[in-house]
Symmetry: C2
Subunit: 314 residues, 2 copies
């Protein structure tokens, strides 16, 4: 019987650092990323793919703001920009994965699903927004905008200017999770919760509505994996294995660790916030709910023997 | 046993003439459009929804072009803009339809699928592009762009300037049609082929790629309806019934017509190109392949007894 895996691609899998983000670059990157999935298909995994959208949604926000200024087009809220990016990345990933499957003589449908994710508007994250998004502003411009709106700005630590920050609330429910599971278990490949999903909340029992926030893509992927009872979660990044003492002379790669070891390292501050730490937390979330393993690795090592760091329940 | 209906919303169902296109307007319109689907659910129809994207993709193209100019963001081709619009409209329609279903105590998944549609790059439509899209340019700017690209411009008949025109090729295959049919027949609501679908063609056997074109949304909906063996096609527009001698003192509404009558009226020029004529052709396409009926009507009359014009095989 086939097993079910959730594979979480980073936003950088499609738009790499240093690239401009042309469509040709992103198509090529999607093709390369898709090729690595064949290892998992050969090992009899059914697949649900998720992906980040950081670089893409940054460009969408800039374009919306420029279109608003130049042509007076109504500005779209962040949830709509996430929806744009799901349409775009889902399309490119599906198309290039089709090209890979045809070359391998595999016939599967690839279903890119626009995904809303429920959050709680009373989540503490809304009291202290931390996730920077969109264009950089001067201090003066940021102060001007803050005064006439409820937008919060923070200064970029690298000195590039001031950026809007939004909350990154905990995802609670993945909409359509039953259908996502069913379609994937029937052997088709599903692409879902792009960019962590479109954050929504209930204003009233029959009034679901988007909210200005960004859900961590790995946390949403882990929630999805547990809600669809996946057998394995792959979290892809740009290092082959998780490291202790990362970027120091004492750097040491981890082949395997239990969730209690992972929690201890987290407490020790071994993993950087905004980078490896949320991936480790996502892995723990999934493993605690499922008892199954999570692999953190580079896209190129997906499904390769002993590729990556395996995190296990004990 | 449930029947299967394809319901094609116009792009104007979400962004009405005279509106600016704010998110609040589009949410409200999507809610109103969704309410009318309850009539069909009550009559035991499973549903696949399709939608236009004209006004939305126009705004997306403008924003992309402004973002390119102001921030140097790589310009995205038309197929990517269609993908953005599928993400956006799929999201809003799904969200508002959920709100309607909750109010009616109905529990169904609503699956918005990013949809590619296969076209032939040798389609005659590419020799004579006719479909205007995107921003208006001055004659000088249009000539300048034409000289350094293969973009074709035509003058707007209403004198608003010069606009890029693209081909509107015949759709051949709806990708994922088997899954679309299966999900809908299991009782979930599918949203697909938004904006007529993302037009793609095979550069080589294992190289599927987007192409600069726009597929007529009603023609794509009719193809989808026949490929998923739908029992009925609803094409929604802004008049309650199809008319003969439209907008003349002899205007007469049609309650019912056969496809041979419809063809005769088409030949007589009774139906305006770019407006009612493609809807009638789409209806004929579906009826000839399925033997089933098509209803053309206003969104407000969806599923209402004797609402709209019924087109039948004989």
């Amino acid at each position: 019987m086939s097993k079910l895996a959730v594979v979480a691609f980073g936003g950088n899998a499609l738009l790499r650092a240093g690239q401009k983000g042309t469509i040709e670059e992103q198509e090529q990157n999607a093709y390369e990323a898709s090729k690595n999935l064949i290892n998992l298909i050969d090992r009899n995994f059914n697949l649900v793919l998720t992906h980040g959208n950081g670089p893409q949604v940054g460009n969408i926000l800039l374009a919306n703001s420029a279109g608003h200024e130049k042509y007076g087009i109504p500005d779209m809220p962040l949830d709509v920009s996430v929806a744009y990016s799901q349409g775009f990345i889902g399309y490119i990933l599906e198309q290039q994965l089709r090209n890979v499957l045809v070359a391998e003589d595999l016939d599967r449908d690839i279903i890119s699903i626009i995904t809303q994710v429920l959050v709680n508007k009373d989540d503490d994250a809304f009291k202290n927004p931390t996730k920077p998004i969109g264009p950089y502003f001067t201090r003066e411009a940021a102060e001007r905008i803050s005064k006439t709106s409820n937008v919060i700005f923070k200064e970029d630590p690298a000195g590039r200017g001031w950026r809007k920050v939004v909350a990154s609330p905990t995802p609670l429910v993945i909409f359509n999770r039953r259908s996502i599971e069913k379609i994937a278990r029937e052997g088709h490949i599903v692409i879902a919760v792009g960019g962590g999903g479109i954050p929504c909340y209930y204003v009233a029992e029959n009034k679901l509505q988007g909210i200005d926030a960004v859900i961590d893509k790995d946390v949403a992927s882990a929630l999805l994996a547990s809600q669809i009872r996946a057998d394995k979660l792959f979290i892809l990044t740009d290092v082959p294995k998780v490291c202790l003492n990362f970027n120091t002379p004492q750097e040491k790669t981890i082949d395997r660790m239990s969730i209690s070891e992972a929690k201890k390292y987290l407490e020790e501050g071994q993993f950087a916030e905004g980078s490896m730490a949320p991936k480790i937390r996502a892995a723990i979330h999934f493993i605690e709910r499922s008892g199954k393993d999570t692999i953190i690795t580079d896209t190129k090592l997906l499904g390769v023997d002993n590729g990556g760091t395996r995190i296990t329940i004990v």
